[in-house]
């Protein structure tokens, strides 16, 4: 990829990639602008790290705090809200902790903790994992002493963690997009959803040419702007799997 081709690299979370969203967005974008987009899907931490090494032109993740630090450190031009969905708790139908129908995330986690039902945590410092830890904190529980017992930190991506949860009949928290697109559900179902605390915001940031002279800021800005434009946002809204919408656009269009 030489400097003058019309292509950019996006460092992205795996959830957006695995959901198949890019498969519909990128052809439309290419048609509109002629720019080719290459997606590198890795863990949130690795994505930010790669972008800090100037190995991407755009960062698309869901860890607002880390993204903002990325910008204040001078690596990103500006962070924009792009879209959202929500997190859900999934588990086996037997539901030994009886979490089905719980109103809040806190309730759910308390029930899991008291019944010592097996819970598969990502344990990888990803956006999802950070969110999960905030929720435990809010519920007033510290699961870490039970690590390796009922609290299983998989240290893996979302898909791998879901495979593990399904394999051992454990509860897990996942973003809805990954879950809907996930094919190894077996008898697992969404058991808890809808709490405001489970909101999941995705952001987009163009990498700054100040720190990374080699990045194609212009093309990156074009991609970011298009995604936040009417056509980009409606393309996001139109993307469905199994009849369900996966992402809800919420960029501040201008």
């Amino acid at each position: 990829a030489s400097a003058n081709d019309r292509s950019i690299i996006v460092q992205s979370t795996t959830s957006t990639k695995n959901s198949g969203l890019y498969n519909v967005l990128l052809p439309q974008f290419k048609k509109a602008t002629g720019i080719t987009v290459h997606i590198v899907a890795v863990g949130t931490g690795q994505a930010i790290r790669n972008a800090r090494n100037c190995d991407g032109d755009v960062l698309l993740v869901h860890a607002k705090g880390a993204e903002q630090k990325f910008v204040t450190d001078g690596f990103g031009t500006k962070r924009h809200d792009l879209m959202y969905n929500d997190f859900v708790f999934v588990g086996p139908p037997s539901d030994s902790a009886k979490i089905t129908g719980s109103k809040s995330a806190s309730d759910t986690l308390k029930k899991i903790a008291t019944s010592k039902a097996i819970f598969a945590s990502r344990g990888d410092d990803s956006g999802t994992h950070k969110k999960e830890r905030t929720l435990w904190q809010a519920a007033g529980i510290d699961p870490t002493p039970s690590s390796g017992k009922w609290y299983r930190e998989t240290g893996s991506g979302m898909g791998a963690t879901l495979n593990i949860a399904v394999g051992m009949g454990a509860y897990a928290m996942t973003d809805r997009a990954t879950w809907i697109a996930f094919k190894n559900k077996r008898d697992f179902k969404v058991l808890v959803e809808g709490d405001k605390a489970l909101f999941n915001q995705y952001g987009i940031t163009a990498v700054s040419a100040k720190k990374c002279p080699s990045v194609k800021t212009k093309l990156a800005e074009t991609f970011s702007a298009w995604l936040r434009s009417k056509s980009g946002q409606s393309a996001i809204a139109a993307y469905k799997r199994n009849g369900q919408q996966l992402f809800f656009p919420n960029a501040v269009t201008n």
């Binding site: 863990g43 690795q46 790669n50 344990g123 990888d124 410092d125 051992m168 077996r186």
Partner: protein, 235 residues
């Protein structure tokens, strides 16, 4: 590149500090890979020996398949073991998924073809030398296999070390069947993968260095043993 040099410092600190968590991970890595290696040798060496001496229709096809199996992708092995051991799978009742045993099974499946294919070659080379003498003495097949394996034992050590290297460095299969669960099934390679996905590249590299130190230690011990044995008995 700074990462690389800082990785050495971190690695040094990790080893010097002898962190309990790290020791646990190292111990599990060694346990899983050495166990898998023993199983693979118990299966792979006889298979290699049989293929080295037996001449039968379709032998070429078997050799092609065996050599091809050296290219068995770890993820695929992981998936197959996962599907068998999963709750829904035929062996689900054994409750082995996400245990070190599952990881041993997966690694053993992965490296048995390597041990078998490489030892086949070495034993066959020795067999071209011994074949007529053995046939003249009417040596039964199993005695022949034993004799070949014994007389080639020092060359076969390199094969075993190749298998060990493959096992200890392997991540794709163990992460699927082991799950990289902290304090339960986390080994060096899955820990490295985790730190990498967290973006903590210096720590990941440092763990990699520690892993290489482990591999060096094991190889050094084996070499020392080999030299003692070579001095005592005759090669």
């Amino acid at each position: 590149m700074q990462d690389v040099s800082s990785a050495f410092w971190i690695a040094f600190g990790l080893v010097a500090g002898l962190d309990a968590d790290l020791l646990e991970i190292i111990a599990l890595s060694l346990r899983v890979s050495l166990f898998a290696l023993v199983i693979s040798c118990l299966i792979g060496l006889p298979v290699g020996a049989v293929l080295a001496i037996a001449r039968f229709r379709g032998r070429s096809a078997v050799l092609i398949a065996l050599n091809a199996l050296m290219g068995l992708p770890p993820v695929v092995v992981g998936l197959i073991v996962y599907l068998h051991l999963s709750r829904a799978g035929p062996l689900g009742w054994l409750n082995l998924l996400y245990t070190p045993t599952a990881m041993i099974i997966a690694q053993a499946i992965l490296i048995t073809p390597i041990i078998a294919a490489l030892s086949r070659q070495i034993l066959e080379d020795l067999h071209t030398e011994y074949a007529e003498q053995f046939r003249s003495l009417s040596v039964p097949a199993h005695t022949m296999m034993q004799a070949l394996i014994w007389d080639a034992r020092f060359s076969l050590l390199t094969v075993a070390l190749a298998g060990f290297g493959r096992a200890i460095a392997e991540v794709g299969a163990v992460i699927i069947v082991g799950g990289n669960i902290d304090h339960l099934t986390r080994v060096m390679t899955t820990a490295i993968a985790l730190e990498t996905s967290k973006g903590d590249l210096p720590l990941a590299l440092a763990l990699g260095i520690v892993l290489l130190v482990i591999a060096l230690t094991v190889n050094g011990l084996v070499m020392a043993l080999r030299m003692t044995a070579g001095r005592q008995a005759y090669a």
